[in-house]
Symmetry: C2
Subunit: 351 residues, 2 copies
Amino acid sequence: MATLTGGGEPSATVKTVAAHAGVSAQTVSRVLRGTGYVSEETRTKVLAAVTAVGYHPNAVGRSLRAARTPMVGLLITDITNPFYASLHKAVEAVFRERGLTLMLLNSDDDRDTERQQLELLRSYRPSGLLLAPAVHSSLTTDDLAGFGAAVLVSRTLRGLSVPSVVTNEPEAMGEATRTLLDAGHRRIAAVLGPQDASTTVRREAGYREAVLAAGAEPLVCYTDQTGPGARTAIRHVLHTHAGITAALGFNAPVTEGILAGLRDEGLRCPQDVSLVGFTDAPWMAFYPPPITVVRQPVEAMGRLAAQLVLDMVDGKPVAAEPHVVPGTLLRRESVVAPSSRSLTSPSSTQR
Amino acid sequence: MATLTGGGEPSATVKTVAAHAGVSAQTVSRVLRGTGYVSEETRTKVLAAVTAVGYHPNAVGRSLRAARTPMVGLLITDITNPFYASLHKAVEAVFRERGLTLMLLNSDDDRDTERQQLELLRSYRPSGLLLAPAVHSSLTTDDLAGFGAAVLVSRTLRGLSVPSVVTNEPEAMGEATRTLLDAGHRRIAAVLGPQDASTTVRREAGYREAVLAAGAEPLVCYTDQTGPGARTAIRHVLHTHAGITAALGFNAPVTEGILAGLRDEGLRCPQDVSLVGFTDAPWMAFYPPPITVVRQPVEAMGRLAAQLVLDMVDGKPVAAEPHVVPGTLLRRESVVAPSSRSLTSPSSTQR
DNA sequence: CTGAAAGCGCTTACAG
DNA sequence: CTGAAAGCGCTTACAG
């Protein structure tokens, strides 16, 4: 059996290069950074020496001297949520162009893990931070001092006076709800995220306002915003509240969970239960039926949030009020008029 | 309008703490790292000083002295591919436990971006690297020297003699193909990934062997392994090859794209075209019909790959041969016997 | 246009 | 059990 172990000969430094080129270390530094005047001859000599000795710059040395690392943290709750994966991709593209590294950190939506990860990030002396706070986050404005540029994305947090980028959740959720009301639905279940998350609060507000304006009764349940959680939740609400003919999904995983739960109960979408999701996913476009959904502009949110961080890094003033990027309702085929089934109890259709 | 700019007062260092506690800097260091003998009294004094002056360790200083950063890179092609998102999550969990930071890098499946990102990672003097190489990667074993511990995940690369973690792709793909053959299908389209990717090569081999053993004709097409790419590809192959009654999807996004393409063509799954996917996704379990799929053990692959890096970091020997984690076929409802439609041209069903 | 000196924050030998 | 000294690799003033 062939085996390998971690190797590692001492690597070349600016000094090695300097010695090889017959110049000083800071001349090497000047050539590499492209700053200050260097004669063309010296420049060529140095570059030749760089390849000759196989020199690779050491970011750690540079960062120590510069007091800041050209790195921005992105602290989210779960990378397997496609919304955050797309957010990471959009943010990374902006930063890469500017020569900044993006460091991804997972909080698992846990308050202590969040603090721990933030402490880790802080130890690298990053230039900035993009943060989607954990549900019961204990972070304060003081905790975010020292990150220089800090910006909230998607979720906000009471008492954190930091710029933020969000969607027009109340309006978008209101529109989604009215789509169902207009189709004739009166008993519409809203399957939301964690009760105290700002995203839940804002989306619930839009839902309640629309439902109450139509003289209907709000039917909400809270979940951990995962598919399995939503699957259990929708089944429970169907059993405890008779006559539900429509549902609203908090995010893409929750919308998945609702469809799974409906299937568990032997209910069809949209014939038995109409559905509107919040946050699009590729499969929703060709699912039978294609799912009507509020498209969250995740790329735009990511780019804007990244730009705010860059502006703050550059010392430009940034508005402290939330920056709102509007979502749009994509009308597909998962909403139809309620059927007569709505009058029978769901348990009668179970096997 | 309230405005904020990036702040940042000079932060406390070990010296600040030392002065406050009336001890030396390296005593502070000893207390913080928990190494060597320190009297209980000194220890208490130092810890009090740490909170008093608001000290936060600087990883940059530590890394410079230690020559290695407690950081491992994970270089993948696209974080919005759920397989890689889950891989990141699994790997991160293992490393977090060991106090290692995971740094996510995107290559966009581009050879130059891959080199660029690797160079960036190298500048941080990381302790290791987990790599899913780009399709036309130009990396050599030499390029990976200096990363100490390097391990390939999911994809391998000819000429790279580095430990790797893969699935039993030929066997699993063979089994998936035989499921379709056994149901009576003879014209089975395999919608694969990029032609030169090791994953494509291995899965195609399993497909071809099974098809040829059954005396049928292989029908393969290559894609960029994204949903939109697969959507175009399946439509094209349906038009150029008459009588196709079944399809095999290379990964989750490709399986999505196949379903979208079938819908475009007015074809139903499974009545008109049976389907088997490679790599599971949550929505596949309750899609109508639930999709039969080869489940890739992504968490197990991630944990194993992470463990190999840890072993190499610890100087333990690691087998250079590929480490194979077996996938399993999940039989759901997207495979049925071919119908008579198979005798009509797909264009006749278009509107 | 180029170089000698100092220091970023930390930890590793080496002395007491 | 504790401290004075040196140095990790780089870049920033400061001189020539």
